[in-house]
Symmetry: C2
Subunit: 176 residues, 2 copies
DNA sequence: AACAGCATGTAACGTGTTACATGATTAC
DNA sequence: GTAATCATGTAACACGTTACATGCTGTT
């Protein structure tokens, strides 16, 4: 029961259609949340039924109509209530960790080569995030509240990529 | 389709019953994987059906019998095949990130106080992991292959806790 | 005419979570 | 005798993933 709230945050920042939300999730909130369009459409439908968002059909030029969703008073209240709840202790789930730990039951050299690939992907993501930081937040001191929160979450994404890269690098050094 | 493989790694290290596996997951692999006993029993049952593990009923003194599971040749082959597959790009899912980003749509002071609690929990987990490292791996240079992998994954857990603590600290400083 | 993109959706399936159930033993 | 621990399990539900379906517009 959290995708609802993630969508409410995104729609509070700016009303959007299902597909726009999907793309926005891939980019900005995507460092820490991922959802397919099918999931988003399903949850969005439920939120409309529950009166958390209102829908407006917007005609576009040269494109199909889109359904733009906006949080209602009820939705804003639900978001506020959720934000006030204590944070659950989160446990990440990493297939990589399982493979590192199980390395001696398979082909260690082959795993190492896959790890090189994964590290390169994280290096690329880190570079993309750092570019986003420079372009979208050139002057952190001058940001308003909501933008500063976005910036701080982006910094979290950067920190997480550093963690991955450092860990894989450490592992490859120790096992080489 | 990955809990199967995580269980195979754990059972390769040492055969175990469902409940023993659940507890082991909470401790050692738990930094990067979590599973309830219901999930583990279900998957274990499927693995028995598929011939990936064999079961031996072991009588105990003053306790109920337990079913000890051991990987079969088929299971070992399945694990090896899985380990040889490329790693999927992992995307973590963090409720904390969503709340940080949504802070301006709720009670910021209240969120900050929850964040203090969460940070304290991560500090405690970090201390527990560091204690485990000192006690279980006092001499990293002298470890065999499997134990070194366990140590390196524990170091990953330590790195992840550092990430959380640093991020939350950074956020609280910037928004205070 | 074929293909890619926009936009929304259905259906089937697999995984994860929550609540509850059973029965035995040990500790207070 | 009440509660806690060990050990295994069932059932119902929520959530996530994959594949497929529709129809329209713009490009090659």
């Amino acid at each position: 029961m959290a995708l609802e709230h993630a969508l409410l945050v995104a729609l509070s920042e700016r009303p959007a259609s299902g597909l726009e939300l999907t793309r926005r999730f891939e980019r900005s909130l995507g460092f820490f949340w991922h959802a397919t369009h099918q999931q988003i459409y399903r949850v969005l439908g439920r939120m409309v039924d529950d009166g958390w968002v209102t829908v407006e059909v917007v005609a576009q030029e040269g494109r199909p109509d889109k359904k733009v969703h906006t949080p209602s008073d009820l939705g804003r209240a639900a978001l506020e209530a959720w934000l006030a709840e204590p944070l659950p202790m989160e446990t990440f789930r990493s297939e990589l960790a399982v493979k590192l730990r199980g390395a001696s039951y398979g082909d260690r050299a082959r795993l190492a080569s896959h790890l090189e690939t994964t590290r390169a992907e994280h290096v690329a993501r880190l570079a993309a995030y750092e570019l986003m930081e420079r372009e979208q937040f050139p002057d952190p001191a001058g940001l308003d509240e909501a933008a500063r929160d976005q910036w701080l979450v982006l910094r979290g994404g950067i920190g997480l990529e550093h963690f991955w890269i450092d860990w894989i690098t450490d592992y490859l050094q120790e096992t080489s």
